[in-house]
Amino acid sequence: MTDATANGQTGQLTTADGKPLKQALARAQSRAKRKAFFLVLPLLAFILITFVIPIGQMLHKSFYNEGFTVHEEIGSGVRTPIMTNLAAWFDENPLGTEPNETAYAALAADLVVLKDLRAAGQAGTRINYEKSGSRSMFTKAARKADKLEPPFKEAILDLDKDWADPELWRVMRDASSSYTGNFYLAAVDRTKDVNGNVVMVDENRQVYVKLFQRTLFLSLLITFLTFVLAYPIAHLLATLPLRHSNLLMILVLLPFWTSLLVRTTSWMVLLQSQGVINDSLVGMGLLGDENRLQMMYNQLGTVIAMTHILLPFMVLPLYSVMRPINPSYVRAARSLGATSWTAFRRIYFPQTVPGIGAGALLVFILAVGYYITPALVGGADGQLISNLIAFHMQKSLNWSLAAALAALLLGGVMILYWLYDRLIGIDNLKLG
């Protein structure tokens, strides 16, 4: 035991043998702290390896793409810079310079390198991301690269006159640097014109902004619907005697224990036009056989299925704030002269706000990134932004665009989280 004695001269507390108290305390606690650190170390390592690093790499891809700058040989991993001559020409000549013979000569030299490395497809794909139809030009030109003779401009234009397209040159100029913001531009339906000005893409190719809006709208709608459905259930759960409320709680949690896929497919069984609901309505004569309701493969299907699937995430935080609210608060309000509505509005409801906030945040964040359910029941109408991210990850293999979309989604969620913190306060959040 050390006695803390105040040192009058410095105002610093010291132990009985004169050591500073803070130092002594830190030493006394360091062992326990070290032990605690070793306990969480496995989790820390796990999170670092499986979460922080991959996501960091993924986000890095959103503004860094080596498709047009470096070729990495599969297997050996040898990295060779490509398109170096062209990059040098871009460096010397500002944007808007008409490509001259020197430029075409540089292109021809680079095409030879592409042919040798069999990298024309890779480079073409990178250009293709921003200007479709370019990939075949690269593979075709690379095949004949050896036979190109000066004057290179004519020779290359002979292969395909599209090589003179100023937009192609603008794309190549941007791609010749690994770092680019173009994927973010593409993710918000924007591109650059030949002069490097940011412009909207053609109207029939504007998809992402609309999809972001739809994702935001549907997520808010689903959050609102879960709230409307969950509030009474949570209140019932919180006020019933424990014996009954446990049984009800199991019913609420039951969906948690079934696979997401099973739940989604059961909704398909229910909602499809030859499904249970339509069949019953037709069977009861409420609906003509030819007027079957289209409840699936549209937004309605996505909303219904996701509301059901995300409901427990709203019920549980609400329940956890409602359970400890003493019924005497409402009684007190009633005895003070409030009607039951006023007592609810002014006394009960404000005390459940932390649970509403937690539930809404949870449901909204989950909904914004939801993928399987919209993919299965959403049709074309009910797709969310994550379905497009998945498309670019798996089908079009434009990982940089997928990463840019995901980064925007993450940024959006973080802004909402920040707003929530400003408006309601994050310490007002109660998850359980």
Partner: protein
């Protein structure tokens, strides 16, 4: 039992019964009337029905049978918010998301009282409990005693004529509790409010109330002012529940008029007692004597009084009093309390003595 005329009864329970499950009665045939301005305490062990009575009066429970009248009006079908009854809850029930001033403002706002008048009333109510400068605090920032004061002033701020208190001092420590007991009675009398106070603490009941209703088993066992309750318990439950009490069991041997009877204890000894719940010889009875009314100085007893042999088992010095535990007629928990006075005898364990009492202090109650 002290009865009040029905016509000036402010609160009246008329043959009220309450059952929660339809099988057992929690409150059995309750009749009670209170005049305006009275401080009445409902005292009883937990489960005796006292809180249920309070909740029925407040309107949170409905009477299964019978009628409750407030100022002559039946209130069975009036919802709680229209009864205009102030209530202080056991856990104070201060709204945690509101400041003290907002808590007090709430009953005034729902009554549609204007802002300036509200502020004036809040200030007056806070000053009344000496909490004037705490208006801006949250309940969580206050100590238990302070919360209690706020709860009290919130129940009084809208000037109700009847205030109900459900064990309001249960969570406070002893010293604070005693202080608040005084404070609450002072306020109640100053403001002339009718108060129904529920507690299971008999000291609280005795010190605060005009009258105490002792509850047990869903019935009022006795309704009387504190001194009557203590000195003249009507049955053995009340005698046991209020204060410390010595009991001896036996059979009535002889009735000597309405004020005296002789009881033969189970070990054969005879004592004098005042018949309360017994009417004829041969009935079983339980006699009750308060520890401070037992006398072992024969000179102070009436001549001819029956004496009992006793053995001193324990002597405890408690400062202001001495507490002596005796074996009397086979009962080893017979306690005698004597005042610490210069001429007082101090008994030693093992000593054989004789004890007695004035017949009026020994009450023959139901067995």
């Amino acid at each position: 039992m002290a009865e009040t005329q029905t016509k000036d009864a402010f609160v009246k329970f008329d043959r009220v019964q309450k059952s929660y499950d339809g099988e057992t009665l929690v409150v059995k045939d309750l009749n009670l009337s209170m005049p305006k301005g009275e401080f009445l305490t409902m005292l009883g062990p937990s489960g005796s029905g006292k809180t249920t009575c309070l909740m029925m009066l407040a309107g949170f429970e409905t009477a299964t049978h019978g009628e409750i009248l407030l100022d002559g009006r039946p209130i069975n079908n009036i919802p709680p918010h229209k009864r205009g009854i102030g209530m202080v809850f056991q856990n104070y029930a201060l709204f945690p998301h509101m400041t003290v001033a907002e808590n007090l403002s709430f009953p005034l706002e729902v009554r549609g009282i204007g802002k300036s008048e509200r502020e004036e009333k809040i200030k007056r109510a806070l000053d009344m409990v000496q909490m004037g400068q705490f208006g801006g605090r949250r309940p969580a920032q206050l100590s238990g005693g302070q919360q209690q004061r706020i709860a009290l002033s919130r129940a009084l701020v809208f000037e109700p004529e009847l205030v109900l208190m459900d064990e309001p001092l249960g969570a406070l420590d002893k010293q604070l509790r005693e202080h608040m007991q005084f404070e609450i009675t002072r306020l109640a009398h100053e403001l002339g409010i009718t108060t129904v106070y529920v507690t299971h603490d008999q000291t609280e009941a005795l010190t605060m109330s005009d009258r105490v209703a002792v509850f047990d088993d869903g019935r009022i066992q006795q309704l009387a002012p504190p001194d009557v309750l203590y000195e003249e318990p009507q049955n053995s439950f009340v005698a046991q529940f209020i204060g410390e009490n010595n009991t001896l069991e036996g059979v009535v041997k002889e009735m000597k008029g309405s004020d005296l009877c002789v009881v033969q204890l189970d070990d054969g000894e005879l004592i004098d007692a005042k018949p309360v719940n017994v009417s004829k010889a041969g009935e079983r009875t339980r006699v009750s004597i308060r520890p401070e009314r037992v006398e072992f100085n024969k000179e102070r007893l009436q001549p001819g009084a029956h004496l009992l042999k006793a053995e001193v088992l324990e002597f405890i010095y408690m400062g202001d009093i001495f507490r002596t535990r005796l074996r009397v007629a086979g009962n080893e928990d017979f306690v005698v309390k004597t005042r610490n006075a210069p001429d007082q005898v101090r008994l030693t364990p093992g000593q054989q003595i004789e004890i007695g009492w004035l017949p009026g202090d020994c009450r023959a109650l139901d067995a």
